[in-house]
Amino acid sequence: MSDLTIWIIIVGLTCVTVATRSAFLVLGERFALPERVQHGLRYAPACALVGLIAPELALANGSLALSLANPKLVAGIAAGAIMLGTRSMIAAIAVGMLAFTALRLLAA
């Protein structure tokens, strides 16, 4: 791709960022959501984050891998348990990365 094409794409992608992220902030004057739906949006953050996390943990090379042989799943569960037990994000990430690295080295 030419340098110009790539810069056009970069500017276009910037417009996409602004347009999607401010969609209802800009169009919301005309399209108000029903109160029930507006209320339900409080569940959007957790749903979106779990939606990002779950496939990373449960899938290996695109297929379901719900077993102890899946380092990401085991490390993710370990990190979650540490988080619930200690409420320390740093401890959760540290234990998770240690478990992930150890399990990968064991498997290799």
């Binding site: 979106a48 779950a54 998770g96 690295t101």
Partner: protein, 250 residues
Amino acid sequence: MPKSVFGVDPAIAARRRHAFARGLRAVAPATIATGTWGLVTGVAMVKVGLTTAQALGMTLLVYAGSAQLAALPLIAAAAPIWVVLLTATVVNLRFVIFSAGLRPFFMRFSLGRRLFLGYVTTDIGFALFLSRFADAPEEERGSLEQVWFFLGMAAGNWMAWQTMSVLGIFLAAQVPGAWGLEFASILALIAMTLPMIASRPALVGAVTAGVVAVLGAALPLKLGLVAAVVVGIAAAMSAEILLERTGART
């Protein structure tokens, strides 16, 4: 009124600074996730063949990791411009839902400010903001405290993302893919997400979203993620209604 939120009145400057600082502090732990993700994206832009200037331009302007990561292989394959932009739009669809969640808070500001507040909204920023203020009284929506808290979070997130992304661009050759660095950002997201699942409807929604996301992972354009958000919200709302009914009976 908007003036009392953004105006230069010295009497409110201190309140504004405090709210901004609270936002910065609230987002601080999450910068681990943002930073590692930024680093990974920075490295990926260079590895796919963008020049340093293009990569810097992309990270500073586009400021959307998942859309950038989705666009890169298409750029590498010299796909038509509209295909790249359409792909990024679909990958960003979850932000349309987020913007609906933020609407009651930011609706009263000028068009320029709404566009800006939308532009700096990230997954983490939205999640932290709404989990904190979803139950705030209606008359407080869009208050100075809320808006400057949001801006403080946005600033912290922006700095963490850009610093690490620029670092990734310049260190691309030195960062080995074998470290599994991107997994650290997933672990950070796990640690952030768990405290948000604080009620039974939220738990139902989260579990449903997780199952849908896994089932839909093979769908193109991260559509599985959009489906997960939509179905997850619906499940949480249904659970809420069911719990209300059974709660009223017992």
